[in-house]
Symmetry: D2
Subunit: 101 residues, 4 copies
């Protein structure tokens, strides 16, 4: 099952700066060869359900190993069976509607 995810991992109890933990996550996504694009409030990820979920679990384990005692993560997750759709397809679909106006 193909999935498009938006992942936002927030380590708690390590102070106000969390970017090094987010960077560690990016490295894990890259290692799993998952297509991913970071934005200002999370990272879009696309791939096979099990691979994506394995990577997210590894993010939690790694961030705990880096010293964060607590993590709260927000995930948006989309699947569809009617047709294949990539992350870029979703963006193109809205842009087409915009330029049609």
């Amino acid at each position: 099952m193909h999935v498009i995810i938006d992942l936002c991992v927030v380590p708690i109890g390590v102070g106000v700066s969390v970017s090094k933990y987010v960077a560690a996550c990016q490295t894990i996504l890259h290692k799993h060869n998952l297509a991913h694009t970071m934005h200002a409030y999370g990272t879009n990820i696309e791939g096979d359900w099990d691979t994506v979920m394995t990577a997210i679990k590894e993010c939690h384990q790694t961030i705990h190993d880096m010293g964060a005692p607590r993590i709260t993560t927000t995930i948006k997750l989309g699947t569809r069976t009617d047709r294949p759709q990539s992350m870029q397809d979703k963006i193109d679909s809205v842009n087409t509607k915009l330029s049609a106006d």
Copy 2:
């Protein structure tokens, strides 16, 4: 790794009423013996990471099989390594602060 999750599954393309799909999810959580409590905008779930994730995947597969062509799901997901914490512990912790006022 123990996880506390808030799960909100939204089938798209099946009209305005989604309760039968949410009910199917509840049945799957029950089958996996996962502690879970439904609220007005999702379901709290507690358990082993892999069991919880297996159940969520099964929710998506079942809802697609029921005829929903598209699903968007929102998940909040917490892990901690400093101490064990149940769903009830989290609620008790806030209530203690409230009654202390």
Copy 3:
């Protein structure tokens, strides 16, 4: 416009325990006479759009005043025009489907 919301406020940079900040939010919701129910990963709130949003803004201001330098909040927010629906209606609707099986 009537809205049902799930609110989860996470102060960052104040250590691992966040319950006193969540308790302060509960007090603000109560002050605004908003129907609200806490669960293990947030609080369901129901009411007029503007009142709810005013209360959420006050939560952020209060938590910053309590010393949290950074806050990340997750909100799920539902509106509908086809029929009135309360928080309890949503739960009842799923439970009816469950007991029908």
Copy 4:
């Protein structure tokens, strides 16, 4: 109060394609002169709290007026008092950590 938001609006009961509703939202954000960047699972928005919230309310009203009987929206929302931070600052901060490895 300055806020960085990730907004994901999902109309329910209008079939499987939701891009024209998302496009209507983009137009509203543009009209309010809010800095915003669309990604594959939402839109990052940056600006004054009240202006952003006014725009989001207008998105809901417009999408209902376009015929959607039900909308479920997911919002991530960040404020900080320790220092100013733009959407681009957040991305740069992670990228700096990545290139330092």
